[in-house]
Amino acid sequence: MDHIYLDNAATTPMSDEVVATMMDQMQHDFGNASSVHAFGRKARAVLDDSRHVIANSIHAKDDEIVFTAGGTESNNTVWMQTATVRRDLGRRIITTAIEHESIMKTANWLAHNGYDVVYLPVNEEGSINLDDLKAALTDDTILVSIMTGNNEVGSTMPIHEIGELLQDHQAWFHTDAVQAYGLLDIDVNRDHIDLLSTSAHKINGPKQMGFLFRREGIDFPSFMKGGDQEDKRRAGTENIPAIAGFATAVTALTADEKAHRQAKYASFKQYVVDGLTKAGVDFEINGSLRPDNLQHVLNLWIKGVENDVTLTNLDLAGVAVSAGSACTAGSLDPSHVLVAMFGKDNPRVMQSIRLSFGRYTTTADLDSFINALTAMTQRLNASANEQEAN
């Protein structure tokens, strides 16, 4: 059986170019960039070149990019270090109710340790209202951390407006761009972003690799203590092969390519919606089909079917999707994102699934999904009718 992968928001396969770059690095240029000899210098050059490519991708300066072990580490770093160094400036931190777990759990920890964390509500499209932010913003707010785009429903946040609002405020503006990085044109200057997190494995790069953009002048000590790597901002021997692989993945994502993917995935969404409608499946979209969403994520309420049933059926048919984020590690607790959008008693929170598209997704994959889901709902309806008849 051919397996169909529609879970690219959880992780993506590495592209052939990325694998080739990394293999080459590991075989030939294996030096430690901190060493003073030629191996070290060669490694340093790869590191510098990669940093340049990546800085350009968000219009940042090279020395504003700090490589980390991925989105989780970048997010933890921003929250823990900001809370620590800015303690005397205030205790309020503003975020949203639908951030990724790497922020939610860190936020909860800080909330239990003397910080005043405000979780902005979201509407049924999965976005915040700027007025709520304005109302929550106090003089002693030290950090506003709002994701660029959501990993479960694909909604985006008014990043540009938030950046403008905070321009003359002491609060640092952080955005988790892990899901958005591969699709949207990100410009940290245009949007007045101070801190930004990404992760390589969501854009066909390696796992446990990402970067933190840290605007010049924003100063906090390294989260990871140790050697002086990354200009003292992230200790640990640099993972050069993965960094080079990340840069290769980023190189593939030109502005045109990103626009092309957004358009392609938007058409995929429409294709799935049309296909399911035609097949008579009873469903609704969680969120919206707004053109400014992240188009690779489509979250569907399959009415009347619990998500574990849907996942099992699709998996047996060889189609991989998920319920919410992969990270809720194997559990099928209600998604905090859907709860924030619809309330915890809404049947949607236990009856929804997420599809997410990637570089290698084809319409044939979408057909397999539509067919498998249609077959499942027809089977369930038939047995329900039978029971009624009896």
Binding site: V36, N76, Q208, M224, D228, G236, D315, V321, A329
Partner: protein
């Protein structure tokens, strides 16, 4: 080309690369996903964990993956401090730890923890008696490395474990980044050792992967919070290709540990025997069982460490100043300083660090080049 800088990093083994590539191409799912792709990935994740646990003779659940040695050290030190802050704020460590431990301690000191830095003798070793004397009712952690990365000395871990035998509430942590696979009898997983840090790239696994051993029942607050991977203790999507590669690299190393160690010891001895008789040479690593087989640190009086490194590099031989991390700073090495080596000598120190692929023939070449360079340095300095 002769690569004698294996304590800075090692080359990934060819078969490990194969594993890395195969997993990247075939089993790239997210282990937390519930579907088939995720299950396959999760299966391989647990298989790799089992392999590592078996190789070390510990339980599956005692192995937790990290992004490397720095993270492992940061986690155990700060995670203990957070977990046990209600019980006490005193920590004991050595004055020759890697910056990953040392700077974590400094950070805790700023937060009000009290750190006792134990002195070392002229071999760079702490004494178990000093550990015993430093223990207080509010001590929560003793953190001592297995093998020092600059001079190669082995710490008296068994004696320290003995001191801690009737102090079960104190966490005992060992940074074994330089010690694994080096035939170190002190490095054992006995029931008084609670946490051990490992880093893959020091044993021919890829960069950016490592693990800690965390003894069953011992609690550590997470450093990285998020999706709840690694039994809710270390969040972040797992780096499966690197994890599977590391399991393989560990097996390759441990399968042949005694042969590897014998070889490294012989190569080191060949160099040591040669350089030790030169009047301007000071040895910091001794040919006794207080030292690991793969590290040799020495100074040539009157010549800066960087100069020596570059001079060898011109002959296609790669060594380092005392550690890759501090070699960018023109500071006297911290381990040598703790060993009370005067600054004008410690700034002349270099480190030769071996792996199992180095040969006696390479040692001979090194020795020949050493003779030439020694003569040159003598001329310049006279």
């Amino acid at each position: 080309m002769i690569y004698f800088d294996n304590s800075a990093t090692t080359k990934v083994a060819p078969s490990v690369l194969e594993t890395y590539q195969k997993v990247s191409e075939q089993i790239w799912g997210n282990p937390s996903s519930l579907h088939n792709f995720g299950e396959q990935a999760d299966h391989l994740l647990e298989q790799s964990r089992q392999q590592i646990a078996d190789l070390l003779g510990v339980n599956l659940s005692e192995i937790l993956f990290t992004s490397g040695g720095t993270e492992g050290d940061n986690w155990v030190v700060k995670g203990t401090a957070m977990e046990k802050r209600a019980f006490g704020r005193h920590i004991i460590t050595s004055s020759v730890e890697h910056p990953a431990v040392h700077n974590s301690m400094e950070q805790l000191a700023q937060l009000g923890y009290e750190i006792t830095y134990l002195p070392v003798d002229e071999e760079g070793r702490v004494s178990a008696a000093d550990v015993a004397a430093a223990i207080r009712p509010d001590t929560i952690l003793v953190s001592v490395m297995a093998v020092n990365n600059e001079v190669g000395s082995i710490q008296p871990l068994l004696e320290i474990a003995d001191v801690l035998k009737d102090k079960p509430t104190i966490h005992f942590h060992i940074d074994a980044v330089q010690g694994i696979g080096k035939g170190i009898p002190e490095l054992i997983f006995n029931d008084r050792v609670d946490f051990i840090t490992f880093s893959g790239h020091k044993f021919h696994a890829p960069r950016g992967i490592g693990f800690i051993y965390a003894r069953a029942g011992k609690r550590l607050a997470p450093l990285m919070t998020g999706g709840g991977q690694e039994r809710n203790l270390r969040s972040g999507t797992e780096n499966l290709p690197a994890i599977a590669g590391m399991a393989r690299a560990l097996r390759l190393m441990l399968e042949n540990e005694s042969d590897n160690v014998a070889n490294e010891r012989a190569v080191r001895q060949r160099i040591l025997d040669h350089v030790k008789d030169f009047p301007k040479v000071t040895l910091f690593s001794q040919p006794n069982d207080h030292f690991a087989p793969h590290i040799l640190c020495f100074a040539i009086e009157g010549v800066r460490g960087e100069t020596i490194v570059h001079a060898f590099e011109d002959h296609d031989i790669y060594i380092s100043t005392t550690s890759a991390c501090s070699s960018k700073k023109h500071l006297a090495s911290s381990t040598l300083t703790a060993m009370k080596v005067p600054e004008q000598v410690s700034t002349s120190a270099v480190r030769v660090s071996l792996d199992e692929n180095n040969t006696l023939a390479e040692a001979d070449t090194f020795n020949d080049v050493f003779d030439q360079l020694y003569e040159q340095f003598k001329k310049i300095n006279s």
